[in-house]
Symmetry: C2
Subunit: 228 residues, 2 copies
DNA sequence: CGAAAACCGGACGGGTCTTTCCGGTTAGTG
DNA sequence: CACTAACCGGAAAGACCCGTCCGGTTTTCG
């Protein structure tokens, strides 16, 4: 290790660390691209072609690639704030004095986010397994959730045999809920989460809480098509 | 409706309904293709290229397409017997005198099948939504499951607010369990099913049954990569 | 205002996947 | 054993998709 420069992304030799400041129109286009990408990824998932995003944003493909050198970079940046929101959800829950409520709120909020946003689910579940951009935040959130689960267990609300991997299990199961309409996805996700939270609970005093309603839509709507 | 021939798949004008009888080598190749397709779809999912299946089967791409005019046709035929097995599972369960055990066995067996076979999951969840080949069998199985659920409710074992759509919910959730190793998928699926069955149960007498073990593998292994 | 730097978009290269085409080969029969 | 219909495999057509190149345009600043 002769110098730390080798470990950093290549930047201009000795000038402002990371902000060359874009021209006004370029900045405007960049913002537009990001907004469109977020919306498109949320609706159609991560598989939309880059050209589609460029077209919707009203720019050429080259402009898109000038700002985001690769599709992965675009995805990463598009979901950065959602990842941050997830971390915040965990931190908020840790601040809640009620361990069980905190535990539930994390699961409910994160699953809601995933149910509403197809692309976020894919991005979160490591659509790009080589990407290490979010590793730090994910580790932080995971650690927070471990604390949360332990507190809930100690308080006797969470069953003792709840495993850490069960969070991943739940997230993957929730990711399986893919429907045509976002409303149906949200309703289905809520119902699944309600079922699972009931199983996670250790102390069953009184009747179980009522379930969220089933999706008012037909069964067919629940089936999805991978290649629209 | 002048003639029923228009509704049937095109067959030779007035000869055995559907069996032009292949030449020996052709039949051999066809069987081989089907076997390879089943194994490959199970391991890698439905996204494997047709050329890969042809190569593994030791035939050319054209031979593959000569027997199965489209990829969908190959998938359909490859999973026909699994679909039939699913239907049989429901019928078996209806023969079980214990309503709750029958209800559980359907869910457990079907989820096991899906956990072990990536491609089956995708095919089952209408990867080809326009295909109507399995509609009849699916309808039969669904009807059987409705009966099963009703019996379990009447016996007081299944919660009254269990909805028909909850089966689809569970299947989709189970489809979300995608891992690198089949063993991990099976373990995770079993655990998810155990959690959900516990929530589905109405009468909680005594302690809940123990959960299947968590996957012995690390967390990373649970995360999957869509494009290997 | 005018010139340079930054920016723009369409066309293009390289890759993958499904499906088709065509000349050579083989199984089965009289 | 010879002939023909059925069969075979590789090459290629057509459709996408990611990422790059290049000639023209716009912003910005002295």
């Amino acid at each position: 290790m002769t110098g730390q420069a080798a470990q950093l992304p290549r930047v201009s030799p000795h000038r402002p660390p990371e902000t060359p400041r874009l021209r006004a129109d370029a900045q405007h286009n960049r913002d537009r691209i990001l907004a469109v990408a977020r919306e498109t990824f949320a609706t159609l998932g991560l598989d939309v072609p880059m050209a589609a995003i460029a077209r919707r944003a009203g720019v050429g493909v080259a402009t898109l690639y000038r700002r985001f050198p690769t599709k992965e970079a675009l995805v990463t940046e598009a979901f950065a704030e959602q990842i941050a929101a997830c971390v915040a959800v965990v931190d908020d829950a840790l601040a809640d004095p009620d361990p069980w409520r905190g535990f539930c709120s994390v699961i409910e909020k994160v699953c809601d986010m995933h149910a509403v946003d197809k692309g976020f689910t894919a991005a979160f579940l490591s659509a790009f397994p080589d990407s290490t951009v979010f590793d730090h935040q994910r580790a932080h959130a995971e650690l927070g959730f471990v604390k949360l689960a332990q507190r809930a267990k100690d308080a006797g609300h969470l069953r003792a045999d709840f495993a850490q991997d069960d969070l991943v299990l739940l997230l993957m199961a929730n990711a399986g809920i893919v429907t045509q309409s976002p409303e149906a996805a949200l309703a289905a996700s809520r119902r699944l989460v309600a079922y699972l939270l009931q199983s996670f609970r250790a102390d069953h005093t009184g009747p179980p809480p009522p379930l969220p309603p089933t999706t008012p839509l037909g069964l067919q709507d629940v089936f999805y098509r991978p290649k629209p």
